[in-house]
């Protein structure tokens, strides 16, 4: 292991380390990338020209400089990002100190470690596949270092592939049995600063429209029974009460025990929500229970105890037919009537007029919905920009808008007419993936609707968008926007092949999320219980893991050793070997280089009682194997002699 390295080893090792470090390029500061690239290049140049490696002083200088740089950039040397940056630069510098095969082995193991760091950032299938390729190539490097003569690259790759394939059973065993830790292992301070995606707790004209351009998955749902109709799929998110003339905002959460009456049996389903950095957990109107570690507000938002920064999976039940809030307090209803003074005067005028014309609240509501349906309003993803009196401009001039425009205008009209109203944001609908039978809800499905409070009925959901574009509610966003090429390509329905492909990929990704990334302590416990192992502790898991590893290693060893055994086809030779091994078990093993006659003589000297059968056998054997005889009868006679031989 102390031999110096050939330049091809250096080349391959440098290349494979560069491959492993490549995904970090997008996350590291530019000067670090430049430094690492320069060092890689320098090392390759040195390997090519066989110039001596840089002195210790130079390396120490770069180490100090780079460490200082990392500290200045991240303002710490700890944590995920700074740690990875340091690891990358140190590994690159170690390349410049690589002289012997032992150094190379160290670098190979560092390379494996660097592979793991990539999973701190991304745990998707493409990352996993890429890292698998990296591990494959690093392993091939390791195999190559152990050869003194240069074998063909394909041979190295094959050997490394076989090694990886042999490790698969162990990998599965460790995946299933390694004690799991609640929550992600790598919760780092940097995570909390990650920008959040998806819904927010404010809504102004244009905010929903922006969301509609994103094909990112918000969450996936699998229903226990049939998926309800699209018009029933209102996924409740933030509820907005406060309006300042342009922007709707959520108030401070009011945690109360909401009361409700249900009229129908609940639907049961499981939600797997993608990380979005906020606390909301989504459920169908009206949620019938709470996921673990979450609370509900009095307006039926479900809030997780900690922001959703990792993928989360929870079981839910919802009642699609309900009444609630009939006994809402006067103070609460007063909050649902607030309007900022001085904004949208024309809307206020219209509301007063409607109030005069129609007697009941229901009639006022219906009049507004009729207006949306018939007075030339249209549903579009590219509405004109609106000015200060946004609702006025929308209602009387533009008459074009997206869900936020309609819900906002409706709520303002209602409030102006004296009917308590609020905005509910969330998602509407979703796409059923026939492969895997689950519902995909994307950011593009983001929606805003209203709830109005009617005496005797409580809070009632009214979706003004339904009045202008029934298709949005009945069949979803892609159907409603069929004419407009604004939606992301993958969401539009006009390319059936693309759609199919996308659904296939999503199904695979969903399984990956559910079974690989979502293999939580609970799931592990459930699996072990099903295997008859109740109350699995750390210790029993460790023992099980050890036993399983030992068994796998043994099995592999047996398989490998079987391959080493030479299979003898020649019956004459096989009979001879059987004969020899019989004598071998009596302490008279044939030496490899011992000819048949010499062997027979030795055996006869050691065991004079065996002389006759041994000599007879050997004579026949030599005649058959080295002579010109090829008589089958003699062969079977030889086999018989070998069988009957009892030393």
């Amino acid at each position: 292991m102390t031999q110096t390295l050939a330049s091809r080893h250096t080349f391959w090792l440098t290349a494979s380390l560069a491959l492993v470090a490549a995904p970090h390029v997008q996350r590291l500061p530019w000067w670090l990338n430049l430094l690492v690239a320069t060092l890689f290049g320098w090392r390759l140049y040195l390997a090519r020209t066989r110039l001596p490696l840089p002195s210790r002083g130079i390396v120490m200088f770069v180490v100090t400089g780079a460490t200082a740089g990392v500290y200045l950039h991240y303002e710490t040397l700890f944590g995920r990002d700074a740690g990875v940056a340091l690891l990358v630069i140190m590994l690159t510098l170690k390349l410049l100190e690589m002289r012997t095969a032992r150094d190379a082995m160290l670098l190979i193991f560092l390379g494996y470690f660097l592979v793991i760091t990539n999973f701190l950032y991304s745990q998707t299938i493409p990352t996993a596949l890429y890292m698998l390729v990296c591990v494959w190539i690093i392993t091939a490097c390791m195999v190559g270092i152990h050869y003194t003569r240069a074998p063909r690259t394909i041979h190295l790759l094959r050997t490394a592939g076989v090694l990886l394939a042999q490790s698969v059973p162990l990998m599965l065993l460790m995946f299933l049995l390694f004690p799991r830790i609640q929550g992600p292992l790598w919760r780092m301070p940097a995570d909390s600063q990650r920008s959040s995606t998806g819904l927010s707790d404010t809504m102004s004209p244009g905010s929903m429209t922006n969301l509609s351009l994103s094909e990112a998955v918000a969450f996936r749902v699998s229903f226990k029974a049939d998926t309800p109709a699209n018009r029933q799929l209102y996924w409740r998110g933030p509820v907005l009460w406060n309006f300042d003339g342009r922007t709707w905002r959520a108030p401070r959460a009011d945690y109360g025990e909401p009361r409700y009456d249900t009229h129908f049996y609940p639907v049961e389903y499981t939600v797997t929500v993608e990380p979005h950095g906020k606390s909301w957990l989504f459920a169908l109107d009206l949620p019938g229970r709470l996921p673990p570690r979450s609370i509900a507000t009095s307006d039926f938002q479900i809030l997780s105890a900690v922001p959703v920064t990792t993928r989360q999976r929870y079981d839910m039940t919802s009642f699609l037919d309900y009444t609630y809030g009939a006994d809402e307090s006067a103070a609460t209803l007063q909050r649902a009537l607030q309007l900022p003074p001085g904004f949208n005067p024309r809307t206020a005028e219209l509301a007063r007029e409607l109030r005069r014309k129609h007697g009941s609240d229901q009639a006022v509501m219906q009049a507004v919905l009729n207006m949306f349906g018939h007075d030339g309003f249209s549903y579009t993803m590219s509405p004109p920009l609106l000015g200060e009196h946004s609702v006025d401009e929308f209602l009387f001039d533009a008459k074009k808008g997206f869900c936020e425009h309609y819900s906002s205008a409706f709520a303002v009209l209602m409030r102006a007419a004296g009917i308590p109203a609020r905005i509910v944001t969330g998602y509407m609908g979703g796409e059923v993936n026939p492969i895997g039978q689950y519902l995909i809800v994307r950011e593009a499905d983001a929606h805003a609707w209203t709830e109005v409070w009617l005496r005797g009925e409580g809070w009632v959901r009214v979706d003004p968008t339904a009045a202008v574009s029934p298709a949005r509610v009945e069949r979803g966003i892609s159907a409603a926007m069929a004419g407009e090429n604004v939606l992301p390509l993958f969401i539009r329905g006009d390319f059936p092949v693309l759609r199919e492909l996308r659904l296939g990929f999503d199904s695979v990704a969903n399984n990956w999320n559910q079974w690989v990334l979502g293999y939580t302590p609970e799931r592990q416990r459930a699996l072990l219980t099903r295997a008859g192992l109740d109350d699995a502790t750390w210790r029993s898991l460790a023992l099980l893991l050890l036993a399983g590893t030992a068994m796998t290693a043994m099995l592999l060893a047996v398989l490998t050793l079987r391959r080493l055994r030479v299979r003898v086809r020649d019956p004459v030779r096989r009979a001879y070997l059987a004969f020899c091994s019989k004598l071998g078990s009596r302490g008279l093993a044939r030496e490899d280089a011992e000819g048949p006659f010499s062997y027979a003589d030795r055996v006869s000297r050691a065991r004079p009682d065996l002389e006759t059968p041994v000599q007879r056998f050997i004579r026949l054997y030599v005649d058959l194997r080295y002579g010109q005889e090829a008589d089958l009868q003699h062969v079977s006679r030889l086999q018989q002699l070998a069988r009957e031989f009892k030393p």
């Binding site: 490899d592 280089a593 000819g595 030599v622 194997r625 080295y626 002579g627 010109q628």
Partner: protein, 305 residues
Amino acid sequence: MTTRINKVVERVGGIILGKELQIRLAVACLLARGHLLIEDIPGVGKTTLAHALAASVGLSFQRVQFTSDLLPADILGVSIYNRDSGTFQFHPGPIFTQVVLADEVNRATPKAQSALLEAMEEHQVTIDGETRRLPQPFFVIATQNPSYQVGTFPLPESQLDRFLMRIQLGYPGADAERALLQGQDRRDLLQKLGACLRGEDLTELQQEAQQVHVASALLDYVQAIVRHTRASAEYANGLSPRAALALLHAARAWALMESRKHVVPEDVQAVLGGVVGHRLIPTGDGARINGSDIAQHLIKQVPIP
């Protein structure tokens, strides 16, 4: 017929005491139509062995003492002008005989050596543009001093290769030496030694040796040995195909002497020391010079397939 061969071995063994294995190898070499090189220090009976062998097989015999001033013509012969007939007349050299003893072959210059070696290979000599065939059977026994002795021109490897076998006599054992010291003069014994084979018998036996069967299992073994010498770092060069052929010929002759119709691995092992001893040059410091040591080492390393 094989009993007669054993009689030859017996008779020669009566003169060269305690060296049965070497005598048997020498006879096998003769049966395999190869030439024999005997290498050892002076005075252990090289020349006597050659004499005894030639005498007991009843072949015509000539001896050439190689010296540093020996010329090719001294071996091959020369054409001399005959004044009576007015023509050049060829006077054949000592090589025109059935058994040539080239004594101390490595004391001659390479020029003289190569004259002999060409004759060995071609079984004919070309003098003054005229090709003359040598008598059959033609058998060269060369003796040489170990190369570390003073005044030698070591034979190059390519020429060593032309000898089927090289044997080394070594000092006799204590009993054999005592018998030698007590016994008659060897020269007198040689005079009395009658032939127990005729030339035709020898030719017949040589043909019979070629008929000995070699099974493919045995070829596997020979190839394994050859392959091992080529792959191993212990030898400067591996065995050549010619060496493999030589091994096979010698093993056949040995099998014939053992009255077998086919060759077995033991035959190969028996002749291995004689055949490969001068062809394999061990590398490293503790080089095994001795042919049988090289062979024993090689035998241990190659399993019989």
